[in-house]
Symmetry: C2
Subunit: 238 residues, 2 copies
């Protein structure tokens, strides 16, 4: 039986060093980086390069890429795209190449490079990711992007949601996976309510981004699975 | 209002560096180090020195201390005491000095030294710890000892239980605290059942330690609060 495990924050990724090379990593930064990426691919974007720094993002921009840079939940000046999924629902972006840097999500992706494969997960493409994983023979590690090294509720809930979809075919041996799964089952009937007091919701609400929150918590809108190829995310339809 | 936060494993303690100096840390290694410590003090032990290595433990033993050394949930040969709370219910130990090293718990204690105070928590002395904290003006950080760097269910549940007792007087701002609190409220009516699939329960059950598990999950047996003074744990009665 394949195994599914959860890493609650990139700051604990060192504990999974030995298993990473035999696992597919699913990176989740639900609010909002990975939800943006999934939305972008669903709207025809050609590829996304996740980069660690604003400087790198600028360099890709100079080579003709659209630039998306977010820090502390706000758009960095001088870039075309922000970290709202709605800014990726744009006909202009069909076939576009994007360079993206965010506070947590893009770093989590770049740090997972030693895995067999790195996928991008969100509630929006939950079933697509689950279906793709079922077709593979590898163990799964869900890497929650968290917030500046700390675990967060929304990414943990995504991990639990994915486990819920895979639980017939995968075993969960470790407590982080059990916790995520239990948490999701506690909250799944009303995720917005369950998340109401979370630290990032409070952060986003101060910025007036209710619409993004509601959007990002929708399940199974898109059948796209972004996968890292070299340093670039491309889209597999499943 | 005072704040209560949770660090799910010592491997995330670096994220709390700035707050540690203004916080009281409560270290929990429910299965079984901190439950042993609480039991030992409740049975009249004079002091416990938590040490990081087996070698250090042996050195204290040579100076007349009782030695307690556990690795991977098993007693290390050549020491008097193991990591079962029942081995501390012993008249011989009244007034005794103990040196203790365990896989996770003692390390968590020694790594918390920069805090205002370091307390030892377990379900056995839950209310005593809560009462002591209420009398203090500092923020609280619950440090879960986890298992070799990984978060675990039982210590997270203890963190949630302590929050449940303190929630009128403390705010919880961070998601780890919210998760622990939600988890405890989900499981509190039947903790043994809730923990049945946890990784450490499976580990302990292989060793046939059902009795220890049931014992360690009892709430409020003892009114003792072990506190670190220098390098030594001593007991405050509250």
């Amino acid at each position: 039986m394949k195994n599914i495990d959860v890493c609650l924050t990139p700051d604990l990724l060192h504990l999974h060093k030995d298993t990473l090379e035999n696992s597919i990593v699913v990176v989740a930064d639900v609010f909002r980086a990975t939800s943006c990426m999934v939305t972008a691919f669903a709207h025809g974007v050609d590829c996304i390069i996740p980069v660690a720094t604003i400087e790198e993002c600028r360099q890709w921009q100079e080579r003709g890429y659209y630039g998306a840079a977010e820090r502390n939940a706000k758009m960095v000046e001088g870039f075309e795209l922000n970290n709202s999924p709605f800014s990726y629902m744009d006909e202009r972006l069909r076939g576009a190449k994007i360079a993206m840097t965010t506070t947590n999500g893009t770093l989590a992706i770049t740090r997972s490079r030693n895995a067999v494969k790195v996928l991008v997960g969100s509630f929006l493409n939950l079933e697509a990711v689950a279906r793709y994983l079922r077709s593979q023979s590898y163990d799964v590690l869900v890497l929650c992007a968290g917030w500046k090294g700390r675990p967060n509720l929304e990414d943990t809930l995504f991990a639990g949601a994915l486990i819920e979809r895979l639980k017939e075919e995968y075993s969960m041996m470790e407590d982080s996976a059990i916790m995520a799964w239990r948490m999701y089952n506690q909250g799944k009937n009303n995720l917005p309510h369950f998340l109401a007091n979370s630290s990032h919701i409070r952060r986003l609400q101060r910025l007036g981004i209710h619409k993004d929150i509601t959007y990002c918590l929708q399940h199974d809108l898109f059948d796209v699975v972004p996968v890292l190829r070299g340093n670039t995310l491309v889209c597999i339809e499943v």
